[in-house]
């Protein structure tokens, strides 16, 4: 099978794929289809390079295959693994996990019917091994790398876990600020410093559970998944941030991809989402990506930006490169083009009418970055809404945040925060962290997440992950409490911006779902057995100060149930007029508690049973 979405090896800006060894081609099978790739590919990158970009059908829409939503795949010799962490290797024979519709299975589609998200099968596996360290660093971006380096230099043992196959995080996407060294240089330097005794680095390793000082990590080694326990006195969460998804109809169709994903796919694996693309960005970094893709040979049809006349060196460079720009516009809707690719319409900001219609194979969308506080919340940390983001709130003993997860933005601040957090975790004074950015006169700040007006068409999802929450129709009930999959932080943030969640509730909503607690085990708990009290409080004063206990009998074999109300035989069956109540069942009849007044002058009553009224009389002594 060809690789239509693979750039040339010598593509500009190293967009030929720095992780690939082009001298080592490989092929494997996925759901019976042959997929070609190179050593260094993940299964996902090779599949996307082959032009397969549709995961499957979700209701009436089709969802794209992305690094944030992809099925697991299993080989005959191993359990299911995530496609984005699974290294491709020659001769693999994999089958995706989930319901597949063969009628839907076509050249660019995996053909799944997505009716729910498969629970990760390793969540309940026991660890195969345990690693022990003074410090566990979660996240291999520059903050995590700097933290691991600082701890190692101070003589502490360190385990660093990184979900992705590479270290360095997202810094490369943003590039340097001012006269900073390049992220490549900084990352390479920091990575080189990890090769010291006492420091263990696990890539392809995702932390999925925290139990006190022990973390459970799912790691892929030699194509096999395993759970590793890491026991550490202190934990540093440098989990980075996640790019938000602009909310518009059709925002998860095949061909729609986030800017950060598009960057990493091109940079690591030489894979592009299409030979032609529209870039819809609300920040200056989208222009940087668009230029690089353009230089690498992608036909950039337009760069669309909701900001009017944004100022940035990247904007200037894009103009100078001859790229077409459209300011003051945002994505309104996307759908399949008549022949091939996507058709996207854009509205002038503040309007709901299409002002620009474009077609391309890909729509690259950029939203603001939300600090990834998923593990922070799992560990018991709080969040609050501030400045259009959910930020960490409060503290957790022996756990610290660093980098963009802690809200820092510049590379230098992320690095400094990693070192500073380690100092604090080990009881040393925390160093100040300065987060400098180029000023607004030169670089227009990014806009908020673009939220399109409601239009007919494909659903508008709130985020790009597995929760699959859809923008509700106007006036309809918000969905965050109805879906069986926990919403992501991006879902909650979008819900705030859509006016569905109060900003003051956003942190609590995120925490409620971000730290739901572990699985519930079966239980046969019962309260300690007791005996019936002689004095029941709800009967106190009910039938006067001095009610009498009497035995009521009937002519039949009827047994009066406990709780049945007793009335004078001339009274309507109004509970407020009841003169007594059956306290215990008899055979026949029962024992009743009856008011003194009710007993005056009569020994005959009506007992209101569930089967209707029954005459009764006081049993003779």
């Amino acid at each position: 099978m060809s690789q239509p979405r693979r750039l040339a090896a010598d593509a500009a800006h190293e967009f030929g794929g720095i992780a690939l060894d082009r001298s080592k081609p490989l092929s494997f099978r996925l759901d019976g289809r042959r997929i070609d790739g190179f050593a260094g590919d993940t299964v996902l990158s090779a599949v996307l390079a082959a032009g397969i970009d549709a995961y499957g059908r979700f209701g009436d829409t089709v969802l794209g295959l992305t690094d944030r939503l992809a099925p697991l795949a299993a080989s005959k010799r191993g359990g299911p693994l995530p496609l984005d962490r699974h290294p491709a290797s020659d001769g693999l024979d994999l089958a995706t996990v989930g319901h597949r519709s063969f009628s839907f299975r076509r050249g660019t589609a995996l053909g799944h019917v997505i009716d729910g998200i498969v629970e990760l099968p390793w969540l309940r596996l026991k660890p195969e091994t345990t690693l022990t360290a003074d410090l566990l660093v979660v996240g291999g971006g520059v903050a995590g790398l700097a933290a691991a380096d600082a701890a190692a230099k101070a003589g502490h043992s360190v385990v660093l876990v990184e979900r992705r196959p590479w270290l360095g995080g997202d810094a490369r996407y943003f590039g340097p600020v001012g006269d900073e060294a390049s992220p490549e240089t900084v990352s390479t330097d920091l990575i080189a410093r990890l090769g010291v005794p006492g420091t263990t680095v696990l890539t392809h390793a995702e932390l999925f559970a925290l139990h006190g000082a022990t973390a459970h990590v799912h790691r892929i080694v030699d194509g096999r998944g395993m759970v590793v326990a890491v026991s550490a006195d202190r934990i540093l969460l440098a989990t980075g941030s996640v790019q938000r998804l602009p909310v518009f109809a059709g925002n998860r169709l095949p061909g729609v991809t986030s800017a950060i994903s598009a960057y990493h796919l091109a940079k690591r694996y030489g894979v592009i989402p299409g030979r032609s693309a529209i870039v819809a960005t609300q920040s200056n970094y989208g222009y940087r990506l668009a230029m690089r893709l353009h230089d690498a040979g992608v036909d950039i049809r337009r760069i669309v930006d909701p900001r009017v006349n944004p100022q940035s060196r990247f904007v200037d460079f894009a103009k100078a490169s001859g790229l077409k720009l459209a300011g003051g516009q945002l994505p309104l809707a996307a759908g399949p083009a008549r022949r091939h690719g996507l058709a996207a319409s854009f509205a002038n900001t503040g309007t709901a009418l299409s002002a620009l219609d474009l077609e391309a194979e890909a729509l690259i969308v950029s939203g603001p970055f939300q600090p990834d506080l998923t593990l922070w919340m799992l560990a018991g940390g709080g969040t609050h809404w501030s400045g259009g983001k959910l930020l960490a709130r409060g503290g957790i003993e022996r756990i610290a945040l660093a980098g963009s997860a802690a809200g820092y933005r510049s590379m230098s601040a992320c690095i400094a925060s990693g070192r500073s957090a380690v100092a604090e975790l080990f009881g040393r004074p925390r160093e100040p962290v300065e987060d400098s950015e180029i000023g607004a006169p030169y670089e227009t700040p990014e806009a908020e997440t673009t939220i399109a007006p409601v239009v007919a068409g494909a659903p508008a999802f709130l985020d790009a992950g597995a929760s699959l929450l859809v923008r509700p129709a106007p006036g309809a009930r918000p969905m965050l409490t109805r879906h069986a999959q926990a919403p992501s932080l991006g879902d909650v943030a979008a819900s705030v911006e859509l006016g569905l969640t109060l900003p003051t509730d956003a942190g609590a909503v995120a925490e409620e779902r971000g730290a739901p607690g572990g699985d519930l085990a079966a239980s046969d708990w019962k309260p300690a057995p007791g005996t019936l009290s002689t004095s029941l409080p709800w009967l106190a004063g009910r039938f006067g100060d001095d009610p009498q206990t009497v035995r009521l009998v009937v002519d039949s074999t009827r047994v009066f149930a406990r709780g049945a109300l007793v009335y004078a035989n001339t009274s309507p069956a109004d509970p407020l007029l009841a003169t007594g109540v059956i306290e215990s069942e008899g055979a026949p009849g029962g024992t009743a508690l009856i008011s003194r007044a009710g007993l005056a002058g009569t020994d005959r009553f009506i007992v209101e049973t569930l089967d209707g009224p029954s005459p009764a009389r006081i049993a003779p002594n």
């Binding site: 069986a484 699985d519 519930l520 239980s523 019962k526 409080p537 709780g563 509970p575």
Partner: protein, 330 residues
């Protein structure tokens, strides 16, 4: 907190985020002409519910049932006038006892319910109640602010106002405004947990286990909302009430506090400088019209008698009701 003042800006300040507080403010402004402000930011619909808003009290005394039966009808009329008549539906609820005293209480409760025209049937360990009114708070909350405005009630999320009467209409407001030393002994703080789980359906949409401190509500998508009282053995008590499959995945959890009363009866009336409303359990929003009439001085005589008996200063010996063992929060 709102303060009493000689030159009161408002006659009545209703403090609370609950549905009861919103309805109460609107009814007082609309039907009784009071200059009313509601102070409190309603919780977003995405927050986990803390109450079921169910017209089935854990109570055996006929006076309370009579009041609720009338209040339920009033509330339906009220919600119709707000434009959300469909927010009240009907459900089946089951009450299950473990201990002899609770089993006896439920027997009394079931017969009382029959006396007020409910349909009941015996189930293993307890009773099932059909066609129980249940109020869906979401549509009401979405209309509430607009309705309050139309009714002439002011509405602020937070802040202080001058008011002749301050009504603390939910437990958070009481926790905030009444020091522990000023609370009556009958008022017991209780830790609560709301959890959303992936579960098979239970035998009824609502199932309550008073002796285990657990209430279950079936939700769409094979999920179950569980509200659990107390701090000890939460997981074990909760799991013992669920149909499986185990291990059972939790989707969301929140913890909070509420008040219970040690005698199981509601507590409504003046407390120091405030007027407090607590202990109504799931029935609270249904009682908004009745409480509004009490505050406005237009309650019927028998309603007045019931409220007087539940006043914080009243002798409560003749109103004690079902009161399962509860743990006091620290």
């Amino acid at each position: 907190m709102p303060q009493c003042g000689i030159m009161a800006e408002f006659e009545i300040a209703i403090v609370g985020t609950s549905l009861l507080s919103g309805l109460l403010a609107g009814v007082l402004a609309r039907d009784h002409g009071g200059k009313v402000v509601r102070i409190g930011r309603p919780l977003s619909a995405q927050r986990l519910p803390r109450s079921l808003n169910l017209a089935l009290p854990l109570a055996t005394r006929p006076e309370g049932w009579r009041l609720l039966r009338q209040a339920e009808a009033d509330t339906r009329t009220l919600l119709g006038s707000i434009g959300v008549p469909d927010s009240v539906g009907a459900t089946e609820a089951e009450l299950v006892a473990d201990l002899p005293d609770t089993a006896a209480a439920l027997d009394h409760l079931a017969h009382m319910a029959v006396g007020f025209r409910h349909q009941v049937r015996r189930i293993d360990g307890g009773w099932a109640f059909r066609h129980v009114a249940v109020l869906d708070a979401d549509p009401v909350e979405r209309r509430l602010r607009e309705w309050l405005l139309a009714a002439g009630a002011a509405s602020i999320d937070e802040g202080s106002v001058d008011a002749r009467l301050t009504v603390l209409a939910d437990d958070d407001a009481i926790f905030d405004a009444v020091a522990a030393s000023d609370r009556p002994a009958v008022l017991v703080p209780q830790s609560m947990t709301s959890t959303l789980l992936v579960s098979r359906p239970s035998s009824a949409p609502v199932r309550r286990y008073p002796d285990r401190g657990v209430t279950l509500l079936a939700r769409p998508g094979n999920t179950m909302l569980a509200i659990v009282g107390g701090e000890h053995e939460i997981d074990a008590r909760l799991a013992s009430t669920l149909p499986g499959p185990f291990p059972m995945k939790r989707l969301a959890t929140t913890r909070y506090r509420r008040f219970s009363t040690s005698d199981g009866a509601p507590l409504i009336g003046p407390l120091g400088p405030h007027f407090v409303i607590t202990g109504l359990g799931d029935t609270a929003p249904f009682l908004a019209p009745a409480i509004a009439r009490l505050i406005a001085g237009t309650a019927a005589e028998e309603d007045k008698r019931w409220f007087a008996a539940h006043d914080p200063a009243a002798d409560r010996s003749a109103i004690a009701d079902i009161s399962p063992a509860i743990e006091a929060a620290p």
